[in-house]
Symmetry: C2
Subunit: 577 residues, 2 copies
């Protein structure tokens, strides 16, 4: 591509409303432009990267034996009513009516459509397993779209759906997809981790997320120091503390704690560690058969965080997890939220494993401005139901018994699920087995956030000058910068000759032949993040040399003009092309 005929829409200023590096750099490098909240146009330079990501995803999916299809973006409500999600999906589902007043949505995902297709097309176990995928524009009406294409409303996703006669076959394909995802993220040049994840609202029995590690990540990812264990913090099990609970050493006493509401208030006021206190949170209980729902108290150590996913997955607790209001607390307990405690609490209590291991702890007295100190389970109150309720913290023992846990930030770029028969059962998708008997299909589903990958890659690959693309997805692999080519026919001609030579050898080349000052061109090429830069100048041509600089290199070097191609082949991981 010749830059003089190409939209190089770089910007010097960092856009004020872009919070994270990738969003800033995609705007500054001229890769995307915002049309409306969560809606972005991909400019030519950005689209080149997106298409390269798509191609890698497609090639590896094809290699895995998955078959590419393309389903409509617009989906009729009837199928979503069959699965029950027309109501469940909530505000993220962009609904619309056609000219005849019939309900449709802009598909955020395609379980219903593919299940409908498969129940019509596949009749026999002989046609299984089958795995269908598409690379398509989706829409999720995020309440707070942000971070550019990282969390956009309209985005490009690779979604795949597999169908099986039984769980063994599903397990096999699940493993194939796990390997395929690793192959994809390897080729994309990403530093990523597959981690155990909660199956969440989409349903199903097991799932893994693929996270790109980056400090801007919205998820906390947990790793073992000594094993392969890795999980989303949502899912990571906090083991019970080892050994018996210490014995009580002091008596329970009521203490006046005027105006002390938070754990840190209390810890400061009483000069104790937060880890010797407990906090008591009231949440909605599951509705009974009459549709009534009371409250449940969740008790955690003062320094621990409630893990909402773990809590809402427990029987007896309303899903999604809903905190009691101040009025409900006042009515049920007779005090404000900051003074609740488990002693004589008139609602059912569930205590976290770590909190259940405390002795001589401090808690609210269920009376405003009063706390209890020296509280002990099984002496001052019965030990209630014990569960894993908290987020793990750094230094916790790894659930697999090997090493301790570390926590890093991750960006979710892929997710694989064993769906089981959630959709096939609701939609009666069956095939005949070897005995001619109708069997409900087992399903898996497998997503990759194609457009998000572009942003995630930048989060991992940048410096203060701009983006540093991995070669596999760089918009151009090589930039040839001509210095004053519009004044020097020799430079212009040498640049064009080199451009043709490198393109013929299979390189993606940008010839920066713009009438701009060298400093402007160099800054743009670095901001855009092109891995290899060659400079053609009059001075170089006199010496029959080019100047080379790799995007990650500190220094530039001169190379012989007629050695450019072998030099580049040697630099590139595609060695020998």
């Amino acid at each position: 591509m010749q830059a003089s005929r190409y939209l190089i829409a770089t910007q010097k200023e960092t856009p004020a409303d872009a919070e994270i590096i990738s969003h800033q750099m995609m705007l500054r490098a001229g890769m995307i432009r915002k049309l409306a909240a969560g809606l972005y146009t991909w400019l030519p330079l950005g689209l080149r990267v997106l298409r390269k990501v798509e191609r890698i995803v497609r090639e590896e999916m094809d290699k895995s034996g998955a078959q590419e299809v393309l389903m409509p973006a617009v989906q009729p409500s009837e199928l979503w009513q069959e699965s029950g999600r027309w109501v469940q999906y909530g505000g993220e589902l962009l609904r619309m009516q056609d000219r005849h007043g019939r309900d449709f949505c802009f598909g955020p995902t395609h379980e219903e459509v593919i299940t409908d297709l498969v129940r019509n097309e596949l009749k026999s176990y002989k046609e299984l397993p089958a795995n269908f995928y598409q690379i398509q524009t989706k829409f999720r009406d995020e309440r707070r779209p942000r971070f550019g294409v990282m969390r956009a409303r309209e985005f490009i996703m690779k979604d795949a759906y597999s169908f099986h006669l039984n769980k063994e076959s599903l397990n096999d394909t699940y493993q194939v997809m796990h390997r395929t995802y690793c192959a994809i993220f390897d080729r994309l040049g990403m530093d990523y981790r597959p981690v155990e994840a909660d199956s969440g609202a989409i349903g199903g029995s097991a799932s893994h997320e693929f996270h790109v590690l980056a400090s801007s990540g919205e998820d906390a990812i947990v790793f073992s120091t000594d094993s392969d264990y890795a999980a989303n913090i949502e899912k990571a099990v906090a083991l019970p503390p080892q050994g018996p609970r210490p014995a009580p050493t002091v008596d329970m006493k009521e203490t006046n704690t005027p105006g002390q509401r938070t754990i840190s208030d209390i810890a400061n006021f009483l000069s104790i560690e937060a880890s010797t206190t407990v906090k008591t949170l009231l949440v909605k209980a599951e509705e009974d058969e009459n549709g009534n729902s009371g409250l449940v108290a969740l008790v955690l150590r003062g320094d621990h965080n409630l893990n909402e996913i773990k809590a809402e997955n427990l029987p007896g607790i309303a899903e999604p997890l809903t905190m009691a209001t101040d009025e409900e607390i006042e009515q049920a307990v007779g005090c404000k939220a900051g003074s609740i405690g488990p002693v004589n609490l008139p609602v059912p209590v569930i205590v976290d494993r770590s909190a259940a291991h405390l002795a001589d702890f401090v808690c609210g007295a269920n009376k405003d401005d009063f706390h209890l100190t020296g509280v002990n389970w099984e002496r001052d109150l019965p030990l209630p139901r014990v569960e894993d309720l908290r987020d793990v913290v750094e230094g916790d023992a790894s659930p697999d018994g090997k090493g301790t846990l570390e926590i890093r930030r991750g960006i979710e770029v892929g997710h694989i699920f064993k769906l089981g028969n959630k959709y096939s059962s609701a939609m009666n998708a069956t095939v005949l087995d070897e005995n001619g008997k109708a069997n409900i299909l087992e399903m898996g589903c497998y997503g990759i956030g194609v457009s998000r990958i572009v942003a995630a890659s930048i989060e991992q690959n940048h410096d203060d000058k701009g983006i540093i693309w991995p070669e596999a997805i760089a918009p151009f692999e090589v930039a040839i910068v001509t210095l004053n080519g519009h004044k020097s026919p020799a430079v212009q001609e040498a640049g064009e000759r080199l451009y043709t030579q490198l393109r013929q050898a299979g390189f993606d080349v940008l010839l920066d032949d713009r009438k701009e000052r060298p400093g402007v061109k160099f800054a743009d090429i670095e901001l855009i993040g092109i891995p290899h830069r060659l400079v053609v100048s009059d001075r170089g041509l006199e010496a029959q040399t080019l100047e080379y600089k790799g995007r990650r290199d500190a220094d530039k070097q001169d190379i012989a003009l007629d050695e450019a191609l072998p030099f580049l082949i040697n630099q590139s991981p595609r060695n020998g092309l």
Copy 2:
């Protein structure tokens, strides 16, 4: 691809609701499935064809210097309000509200979005001309979606938009796009014609449509027998008849014509040719400044059809063309529609050129059950305003003065427009010219119906056995059919070896290794339309031969097993690959 692991979803029965060949064959060959009215899923086999079409379109657009972008499918209403189309576009625009109650639409086209982008990004004439394109899913909420992907609601379009400092530059790019479209349709192997077209509701000064000739086409296309003249019938000029109008030979008389309402009624009743009668149609006139609108009479020869596009483009006539209701006719004229005539008609009259050339003609008497015979212009009534109001008919003189006109049916697969400043002016899109003065941009736009091309190709390439793909877009170029491969390891092995060999040579190959009877496999391969078929059988292997049959061949032939590759290279237009 191995057919045993691939969705071959062929059907024997012709689907009852598919009217045209391409729709029937795309369903029968397992290329598409209907999700809802006008919404289709592309199955693996169909998607392969679609992707090949896309690739050809993309390669030629890139070659033309156009730059690929990707704009959001969902567009905010604000831009459509700026251009005035939020109201004008009518029922085909699929509108929706997001969770915050803001209005959006699913883009049927992207003039507004690209104009908004360009007014923000391009500042100087130095950045012009620029031509941006995308290949994207669009939605038009057709009142009557039909013919499968030929007229679907959701479809894939290549849309391009060019921007220019002046009309000369627009003309240059328009010519480049005209040539690019010819290159695309040539590579797609289509029998097509570029024809002059009406610029229609999208606005602008000139346009050409690219039509694929097929009897199922929804458009009538007009050609000269002796020149390159070609136009959509909407646009084709009907020249005025040559020579002076014949002189009157009879007196005007009123004739009782009880119950005779249509032109053919009258012609039969009076035993005359329809071409000696006129019909008078009442339509709405343009609103005056007070919003009132009267009627206008359009007079045509009895055997001619009103060309609605020509009529509504005339000053004084409401757009879109709106026929007067029975009540309005009764009120204005005092008779029913079948008895109107131009003599003493109390509304303004426009007469078609051919009707204006008649002498001694028959028309309604503006009195139920009465007609006038022997009517003559400028004797019995003044000659009103004369315009070209009718569709041309076969045998009319070509508007370029060379030869006469023929009419064929066409499927519109491409359309190029000179938009002028319709959008740039409404949205104030300017750049600075050489003198630093802001200039409203000139625009062109260029569409190709990517998904429609797949259907249009089938309309041109099929026989009673199925589709006959041009090689460039065949889902597979070669089918290797193994006969009883599941019983004969030698056949299976030879098939797989050949499959590998041909794939390594760059052919797209389907290995039909299914456990099906030979007849079933042969029928499927013919229905699917794969250009080259090779059969591996035990009998053939004994003689070291394969059986070859081209999809268009009447007979099969034996070829040497080890000559398969050179033989195929010789058969294929990609000769030598």
